[in-house]
Amino acid sequence: MAAGTLEHTPTAAAEPSRRRTMTLNMGPQHPSTHGVLRVVLDLDGEVILKAVADIGFLHTGIEKQCETKTWQQVVPLTDRVDYLSNLANNLAYCLAVERLLQLEIPPRAQYLRVMLTELSRIASHLVWLGTHALDIGAMSMFMYCFREREDILKILEMFSGQRMMTSYLRIGGVALDAPRGWEKVVGKFLSEFPSRIDMYENLLTGNPIWTIRTKGVGYMSLEDLLDWGVTGPMIRAAGLKWDIRKDEPYSGYDKFDFEVPTRTESDVFARYQVRIEELRQSHKIAKQALDGMPPGPFQADAPKILLPEREKMKTEMEALICHFKIVTEGFSVPAGEAYACVEAPRGELGYYVVSDGTTKPYRVHMRTPSFANLQILAPMLENTLIADSIAALGSMDFVLGDTDR
């Protein structure tokens, strides 16, 4: 056979009757969908013509369950929403309820909240970095990232007794005071971590394979991202300098010195750079919280909302009554509605809480960042190559528990 006959003849390719598309079902069990996401792709060869996301496989009705629990019992449920950054979920819910209660949070509790939320942001970004690099083919990153994440999970276990589902926050403060020897453990991790970020950057930032696979891939304009309601590192990688920690400070973030990293390219590589820089900024915030940790109470002075100390409960009658009331029926929250949002690792995480004045929430709505961000999957993937879709999906950094609730 002559070599020339193997070539594609242009006349055959141009004929419309020969153009055939293929429907490819990706997921719900696919390693690069990071959970149970199903995407139906219409392909013309290697090019994606249409992408439709099918979500809901992880829907567990958390919002409905919240309506049957007392206010405090909802906190462990919020852990399960975004299981990679559960402290941000705890925090957003507690802030919303504390606004309804008009509670004043003592500085030590705020610093503990900030420090652990930033550590869990680092852990969440490390999971993203490891799996994203693994999708694109950089296998070793995964192990390095999970090594550091393990250190953070040990710190969380030290504070709360749990590695992932910490439920460490309470309405009005935190569950426990910092354990003995915590400064040493957190300090050791924070002193080592900057060199680890340098190592990740050595492995990826200048790596020609990494840059070819990520630069110019998954582009979306800032106007489109705003229109679709996208938040977090994705919109900062498109040039919008907006971070809720900076613009609407909560939990004492106005006392911390940090930068909001932005890029303008709005591609996979820019999102990677923004998140790497966020690792450094989170490290900076956690270091400031460690150095400036104020002494004092770790819970608000609200005996009808927070459980009394064990010793007081056994010796004082008022404390015993409060303990009994809180345990048996919970506490009531004044009627009203509140929306509190925090900057979670994936973007704006907002809790809209409605109270009818009883001991259980009337309605809890979670405005989760993954749900809003995942909407741009279809416009982002259309007319791109299927191999690039893996990089683009990874750069969105969604958690399906966060999407489906």
Partner: protein, 153 residues
């Protein structure tokens, strides 16, 4: 408040009530005029639609409160719009023409509350299975008892 005055000046009668509670501004909007209100507010600087959700006030009538959380990045302001929709035929116009990001939020409200958004284009279930009966976040949805969600062999 500046935004309520602007709204009353541009679209008189669209706002039917409101309150400023614990630092959060809520404006009650006539459900028939939600699209023009949203368009005016977007032109006024509320570029972001943070979320659309719903509250079921069963057995009160009008039963459903459709809630829109708006955010202006330039002015650093948040605003909540509230539309009261009847329980007998819950329907409201979709704001997908103003913000495309309303797409999944409105589908979620339809899925979990059964409020129909007109002119949405793809008003299908998003979280629950396609053949699910009822809308689980309604207050009268049973939370006890047995139900086979899949047909028996």
């Amino acid at each position: 408040m500046r935004v309520t005055q602007a709204l009353e000046g541009n679209l008189p009668g669209a706002a039917v009530g409101g309150k400023l509670d614990r630092g959060e501004l809520t404006i009650d909007i006539d459900p028939a005029r939600i699209v023009e209100v949203c368009r005016a507010l977007k032109a006024d600087g509320y570029l972001r639609l943070a979320a659309v959700t719903c509250v079921d006030q069963y057995p009160m009538e009008p039963r459903f409160e459709v809630i829109y959380h708006l955010h202006s990045i330039s002015r650093n302001e948040r605003l909540r719009l509230k539309c009261r929709v009847s329980g007998t035929q819950p329907e409201i116009d979709s704001v997908i023409g103003v913000w495309r990001g309303a797409d999944w939020f409105e589908r979620e409200v339809f899925d979990l509350f059964g409020v129909h958004f007109r002119n949405h284009g793809n008003m299908t279930r998003i979280l629950m299975p396609e053949d699910w009966e009822g809308h689980p976040l309604r207050k009268d949805f049973p939370v006890h008892g047995y139900k086979y969600s899949y047909p028996q062999e």
